[in-house]
Amino acid sequence: MTQAKGSPASPGPAGWSQYNLPDAQGHFGQFGGRFVAETLMHALDELEAVYRERMGDKGFQAQFKEELRSYVGRPTPLYHAERLSTELGGAQVYMKREDLNHTGAHKINSALGQALLAKHMGKRRIIAETGAGQHGVASATVAARLGLECVVYMGEEDVRRQSPNVYRMKLLGATVVPVTSGSKTLKDALNEAMRDWVTNVDHTHYIIGTVAGPHPYPMIVRDFQSVIGEETRAQCLDTLGRLPDTLVACVGGGSNALGLFYPFIRDESVRLVGVEAGGYGIASGQHAAPLSAGVPGVLHGNRTYLMEDEDGQIIATHSVSAGLDYPGVGPEHAFLKDAQRAEYVAVTDDDALAAFHHVTRKEGIISALETSHALAWILEHAPKLPKDHVIVVNLSGRGDKDIFTIAEREGISL
């Protein structure tokens, strides 16, 4: 980092109990903000105004809640993984079952909220970027549900790796556009979605899939995903009579992690752990862990930690999981890292795969490769923690989409 901008990362004079970011300009300390082409500035202002108005509207809140209940299937269970906990011999592991949502991941919470906003703004077309395809499927699903046109941008490389999800999106009536520029993965899909949005901004809403992008997106996606943490909080108080000790989630852009963490940020006793994709290991340079090994910079509308070279060019990332294969991360995570409110670690492809198999056999839950990174952290750390320590992991998605990738890696032809 070459500029000292804004104040050092701190929750403010009142401490974490009054945590209330972003500020009016969308900043989380030095991170966040709004770094886009002038053409989009008005659309972002409009989105922010509509969002604030809708969130203050009881009718909208009730509608969102009802859609989450009857269409998405919320609340999702908080499941005590007893066999796993007993085997590990330490902390009690609880799983927040976002994999049981309609479409199989947490992504639909925010896609649904944003599509309702789009509909309210009179936008008849939505666009989305997707890596693993989960956000694309969620967007295509809510578009079908609400009668909106949907175009999904997906890197050509990811179209190949995630063909079941591509077909799913097409079945739902969406147009999937393979992106052939740059590295042909998630970051390039984001670039292409931005180009579409700048061209069709009058009648199109861009449903960003994670807690990144220009303000107000990191705030909007976080707020819609916070249903995860709010339910977890109530479920813990209800069944355990207390707050959990540790929350763990995988972090690509970071929406499932922030959805879980956010309602607990003010509770300083709760430890927050974000697990990034370590790929072949941080030392190899081939990973997707900007919080663990990146530097602050500006990409895709916000200032955050990025993987870049000494000239500021964004460098290629690697992860076995397409959903974590992204060189940036949500700006609020960047802030929470610098402020030392959350800690971020990296788990390698191999450890994530091992955890995938272990938990599948032990608990009968096939988790997504993204999620498996968080499970790997638990396999390593739960044994060292006392038996009354409660860990909640965000089981952010199911792994059906990944079975071809895993089989191919292990030399099995399906």
């Binding site: 500029q3 002038e38 008005h42 670039n191 931005m194 180009r195 895709h300 870049e308 000239d311 964004i314």
Partner: protein
Amino acid sequence: MSRLATRFAARKAAGQKALVTYLVAGDPEPQATLPALRALAAGGADVIELGVPFSDPEAEGPDIQAGCERALRHGVKLRDVLAMAKAFRQENSETALVLMGYLNSVERMGYETFAEAAAEAGIDGLILVNLPPEEADALQRRLAARDLDLIFLLAPTTTEARARAILKRASGFAYYVSLKGTTGAGHIDPEDVATRLAPLRTMSDLPIAIGFGIRDGETAQRMAPLGDGVVVGSAIVRRMGTLSLEEQPAELEGFARSLREALDASC
């Protein structure tokens, strides 16, 4: 008076419009750039925007994306771009030179280091596509301290209040993005540009150049009367991508001259 202001003022005094051209530095290879800069200047460019190649040029259409990728394959860095600009400046003190790119390149180098190096290279201004005025204070202060202009963009979606605020803090010239879209898009609409530019012209005396979608003499001629100058970029970058190193200078000079003549015929 800055070189940018001088060039625009001179054209205005002569009842003419300024020609602003763009190319990606180091595209398709580093040694192409200095001859290309000379050719554009010889063909009548008043201002040359030298594109800083970036890995994720999210506001660019396919031509400039491809130009960035060609330059990056040769490992062209911001420091190399500054060196190219300096080499050109040593032999040409008339043509205004503006760097155009994305904030992360400048951020990585550091605002202060960049401002110092840019001034030393003889650069006149900077356009950062993804740096709106709201986030620009720290950089603009450092540029202004060295008489470098930070050029802001105005778009068809910019509200009147925003346009007023942007024009108030802009220097050098303002860049009017003629359409909703990426660079090199094909749907420019002169009537829409005329309608939207008219109020902007009353807000400030700052020269306004019109860009995005101006591809040839004909479109340049149609847009010219609406502003103080036109920007031609993708059409040049496309030529750089298809012509050999030997062909580029003569072709570029001829193309710039054809644009210059079209502009002069429009007045």
